[in-house]
């Protein structure tokens, strides 16, 4: 019996037209080339998508958290209402301060930028920021996390360092976090200022290896290099193997990178920048 190949079985062609998969691939490649050739235009168009994804994420968290024990939720709700009233006032004052500084652009203290995309939306541990070369942003500037409400001790001292600017376009910039896979950052740890090299592990986590004889414990603060002794993380866990002469420290950032909405960019001059494992020309 003669068998004929149905054009519908072809991965590229469906009937007389391209298949949906081929169209999808063509669209993806088109967007890819737009990003390469006109990154500003691309991210300006993508910014509303990222913001709406943020909003959806927040609402879904609120929705799923409602499926808990009713009595416990009622008690929590009452306590949260009281706390909310106090925090709202503090939040409004802080937001007003941040917007005023953002509107003024470059400041003596730094440049305030809003976060367009962040982990986990940006799984490569990088932040896409809404400030670029037109606002005075340059490669190598240090990125400090800000929160819109409440000021912990670290933020009162100028923020928690979370990364450095790795690439800049006219209106956007990308910050490579210290926790990005393959990035190594030099710092020191604890009250004895023990020098340490932090290796990014992704997902906001960093790792370091020290000799077993070094006095370090869980909770020790890790400081970033630079003219200011700003803490960037704490030792969250120590792994030790009796057969190994070294300890593995797992360091967690002091800032919640998954909820960062504003950051401060500052030029620290000669502060050493984190190094990626492979050097590539900087592209946004």
């Amino acid at each position: 019996m003669r068998r004929t190949l149905s054009p519908r079985r072809n991965a590229l062609l469906s009937s007389a037209d391209l298949s949906w998969g081929a169209w999808a691939l063509a669209a993806a490649l088109f967007l890819f080339f737009v990003r390469i050739l006109a990154p500003d235009l691309f991210f300006r168009a993508a910014e509303p998508l990222f913001k709406s994804a943020d909003a959806l994420s927040e609402r879904s968290k609120a929705f799923f958290s409602s499926f808990g024990d009713a009595g416990r939720l009622a008690l929590e709700n009452e306590a949260l209402l009281l706390e909310n009233a106090a925090l709202r006032l503090e939040n409004e004052a802080a937001e007003k301060n941040i917007r005023a500084r953002a509107a003024l652009g470059a400041q003596g203290n730094g440049i305030v930028a809003s976060v367009v995309a962040r982990p986990p939306e940006s799984p490569y541990d990088a932040l896409l920021l809404s400030r670029g070369a037109e606002d005075g942003v340059s490669v190598g500037m240090r990125v400090f996390a800000l929160s819109s409400g409440g000021a912990r001790e670290e933020e009162k001292r100028g923020g928690v360092p979370v990364g450095t600017i790795s690439s800049v376009t006219d209106r956007f910039s990308r910050a490579l976090l210290f926790s990005a896979p393959g990035v190594s950052t030099y710092g020191w740890i604890g009250t004895e200022n023990i020098p340490v090299t932090l290796l990014g592990q992704g997902g906001g986590a960093m790792r370091a290896t020290l000799p077993r004889s070094v006095p370090v414990s869980v909770g020790d603060v890790v400081y970033a290099p630079g003219p200011e002794a700003l803490p960037l993380g704490r030792v969250a866990r120590i792994d030790e193997d009796a057969s190994s002469p070294s300890l593995t420290l797992h360091v967690a950032s002091l800032a919640n990178l998954f909820s960062a909405t504003w950051v401060m960019l500052r030029d620290l001059g000669g502060a050493p920048a984190p190094e990626p494992v492979t050097s590539q020309p900087a592209r946004l």
Binding site: R3, L5, R9, A11, L12, S19, W20, G21, A22, A24, L25, A27, A28, L29, L31, F32, R35, F42, A46, L49, F50, S52, A53, L56, A117, P120, E121, S122, P123, Y124, D125, A126, S166, S167, R174, L176, A180, P181, G182, V183, P276, V277, T278, S279, Q280, P281, A282, R283
Partner: protein
């Protein structure tokens, strides 16, 4: 119809939902449209990949692997069924 919905859903998911859901949708669409995982991977890396990080574009590479696997399976199935 379903394959078209899954193709669109995988692209929408790349923006609004975590990557595991995008991967599941793309793999589900790969049965009828083997190019969808590659397209979704390139789209996700276009949105999120940072070349300055020194890492590899994992979504595009994963999508390429899934597309290759889908095309290979498709060719084996066609050979097994005689092209019907």
């Amino acid at each position: 119809m379903i394959s078209r919905m899954l193709t669109l859903a995988s692209f929408v998911s790349a923006v609004f939902f975590p990557w595991p859901l995008t991967a599941v949708l793309a793999l589900a669409a790969a049965r009828a449209e083997p190019l969808v995982p590659l397209a979704a991977g390139i789209f996700a890396d276009t949105l999120y990949y940072a070349p300055s990080s020194g890492g590899l574009p994992l979504f595009a590479l994963g999508g390429a692997a899934a597309t290759f696997g889908a095309l290979f399976l498709r060719s084996r199935l066609r050979a097994a069924t005689g092209g019907v």
